[in-house]
C-alpha cells in the first residue's frame, strides 16, 4: 500500500486528492473559526470567554495548529505541482479561446490562493500577534472583543477583510464542488445537488464572515 500511495501521489490524481483532503480539513477549520468569531454578536464576555477557553486548551490547541499548518503546506505544495504540470501541458496557447462552462471562481483559484495566503499572514499578524494592529498600543491579547471592534472601526481594515472574505468565498465555492469531484463523491441520483451544496456552503461562510466587519462599521457592534 505504501508504494501504491507513493505512485498515486506521482500522478495528478493523487496530488488532487491531497488537495481535496487538506481542503476538507481547512473547510472544517473555516466553519468552526467563523462560528467562534460570530460570538462577537453576543458581547465581550462571551467572545473573550471563548477565546480564553481556546487558549486554555494548551497542548490540544498546539496539536490543532500543527494539523492546520501541515494541511495548508500540503495544500499549497500539491496545488503548485499540479499548476506547473498544467502550465507545461500547453506550451503554445490559442489566438482565440472562448469558455462556456468554467466559472470566475474556477479560473481565479490559482491567484485567489496566494492572495488568501497573504491575507492569512496579515490576519495572524493582526489578531494573533497584534503586530500590525491598526490602533497601535491598544492590542490586548486577553480582550479579543476590543481588538476586533477597534480593528474593524478603521474603514480600510474592515474593507480589506470584506474583500478577503469574498475571495475566500469564491475559493470555497469552486473548492467545495471540485473536492467532491476529485474525491469521487458522485452519484447520478444526487449529482445535481453538488453544486447547490457548494453555493450554499460558500455563501453561508462568506455572509457570516462579512457580517462582522459590517456590524462594526455600521455601529451595530460597539466597544461598550
Amino acid at each position: 500500500m505504501a508504494t501504491g500511495l507513493l505512485n498515486y501521489y506521482r500522478t495528478s490524481t493523487g496530488k488532487k486528492m491531497v488537495m481535496a483532503v487538506t481542503g476538507a480539513i481547512i473547510f472544517g477549520f473555516v466553519v468552526i473559526h467563523m462560528l467562534g468569531n460570530l460570538q462577537v454578536f453576543r458581547g465581550p464576555e462571551v467572545l473573550n470567554h471563548y477565546a480564553a477557553f481556546l487558549q486554555g486548551l494548551g497542548g490540544v490547541l498546539w496539536v490543532m495548529r500543527g494539523i492546520m499548518l501541515i494541511a495548508v503546506v500540503l495544500h499549497i505544495v500539491s496545488a503548485t505541482q499540479v499548476t506547473l504540470q498544467s502550465w507545461a501541458a500547453r506550451p503554445e496557447g490559442y489566438a482565440v479561446q472562448r469558455y462556456r462552462e468554467t466559472t470566475y471562481a474556477a479560473r481565479t483559484m490559482r491567484w485567489g490562493g496566494p492572495i488568501i495566503l497573504l491575507f492569512i499572514i496579515y490576519h495572524l499578524l493582526h489578531f494573533t500577534f497584534g503586530t500590525v494592529h491598526p490602533t497601535a498600543g491598544h492590542f490586548d491579547k486577553a480582550n479579543v472583543y476590543q481588538n476586533v471592534v477597534m480593528g474593524f472601526q478603521v474603514p480600510w481594515v474592515a474593507g480589506f477583510y470584506i474583500l478577503a472574505s469574498m475571495a475566500v468565498g469564491l475559493h470555497l465555492y469552486h473548492g467545495a464542488w471540485s473536492m467532491l469531484q476529485t474525491m469521487g463523491i458522485s452519484h447520478p441520483g444526487w449529482n445535481r445537488w453538488r453544486k447547490a451544496f457548494a453555493v450554499v456552503f460558500a455563501l453561508a461562510v462568506t455572509i457570516g464572515n462579512i457580517s462582522m466587519p459590517i456590524a462594526v462599521l455600521t455601529g451595530i457592534v460597539t466597544l461598550d
Binding site: T11, G14, Q85, A89, A106, S178, M183, G184
Partner: protein, 247 residues
C-alpha cells in the same frame, strides 16, 4: 456566403507557424465546415499554393478524426457536434473565423491543423482492453448486466477519441477521455478483473504523455461532441484511489 478565415499554417512539426488570412467567397450555406475548407483548398491549388492540411475521415461525426479550434471553441460553437457535422449556415455572412489546431504538449502539430494524437493511443494501449479467451462469440445474454450500468457504460463508450476535451481544457488535461475509457469497461462485468490495474495503467500513461491536471472547470464536457459527462472523471478518481489502496 463570404468569410474571412484566419488559419494556422505550419509547414512541419519543428517549423514556426502563424495565422494566415484567406478570403472564402461564394460558399453555400449548406456546405459543411470541412467542405468549405475543401473549396478553399481547391482554389489554393489552382493558384499553385499549398493547401491547408486538416484531419478528417468519415465526415459522419462518428470516427473522431476531425477537429480544430474554431473561433475558440473545439469543433466550433455548436454543441454536441463534430467539426464535420457543423454547417456554414451556423455562421453569419461576413464572419471572421479563426481556425487553429488542438493545443497541447501531448498533441504536437504535424502540419497546419493536423496534430499527432498518439498520446491517446498510448493511454488505450496501457489498459483500454479486456483480456479474454477469443473464439466463437459468447451467447448474448450469458452475462447479465444491470440496465443502469449498461446505459452508463454506453454513454462512456460514445467517446470517439477526437481530443476536443484536451483542446478545450484550460489545463490541457485528458481526464475526460481517460475517464470515459476507464468507465465504459469498468461499468460492465467483463471489465471487472482488470479494473484496478486498468485505472493505474491508464492514468500513468496519461501522466507520462504530458497532459495537464484536471481542475474541474467543465470545459471538456461542454466541448465534447458526444456530450460525455464529467461525472466519469469522479469515477476515474474513485477507481484510481482504490487502485492505490490495494497496490
Amino acid at each position: 456566403m463570404d468569410f474571412t478565415l484566419k488559419v494556422w499554417r505550419q509547414a512541419g512539426p519543428d517549423e514556426k507557424g502563424r495565422l494566415i488570412t484567406y478570403e472564402a467567397h461564394d460558399i453555400s450555406s449548406d456546405t459543411s465546415f470541412l467542405e468549405m475548407l475543401d473549396i478553399v483548398n481547391e482554389r489554393l491549388l489552382e493558384k499553385g499554393e499549398e493547401p491547408i492540411a486538416f484531419d478528417h475521415d468519415c465526415r459522419e461525426g462518428i470516427c473522431g478524426m476531425c477537429g480544430c479550434m474554431v473561433n475558440g471553441h473545439a469543433h466550433g460553437h455548436q454543441q454536441g457536434t463534430t467539426l464535420c457535422q457543423l454547417h456554414m449556415r451556423e455562421f453569419n455572412d461576413g464572419d471572421t473565423i479563426y481556425i487553429e489546431p488542438w493545443r497541447a504538449k501531448a498533441f504536437p502539430v504535424v502540419k497546419d491543423l493536423v496534430v499527432d494524437r498518439s498520446a491517446f493511443d498510448a493511454i488505450i494501449t496501457a489498459g483500454g482492453f479486456i483480456s479474454m479467451r477469443t473464439g466463437s462469440a459468447p451467447d448474448g445474454n450469458a452475462i447479465p448486466v444491470p440496465k443502469k450500468s449498461a446505459d452508463q457504460a454506453m454513454d462512456a463508450a460514445q467517446c470517439i477519441g477526437c481530443g476536443a476535451c484536451v483542446a478545450a481544457c484550460p489545463n490541457a488535461s485528458a481526464m475526460l477521455f481517460t475517464s470515459a475509457k476507464i468507465s465504459h469497461l469498468g461499468l460492465v462485468p467483463q471489465g471487472q478483473p482488470e479494473r484496478m490495474r486498468r485505472a493505474r495503467a491508464m492514468v500513468d500513461a496519461m501522466e507520462e504523455a504530458g497532459f495537464g491536471a484536471c481542475t474541474n472547470h467543465g470545459e471538456c464536457e461542454a466541448a465534447c461532441p458526444k456530450e460525455i459527462s464529467m461525472n466519469f472523471i469522479a469515477r476515474l478518481n474513485r477507481d484510481r484511489l482504490k487502485a492505490a489502496l490495494v497496490e
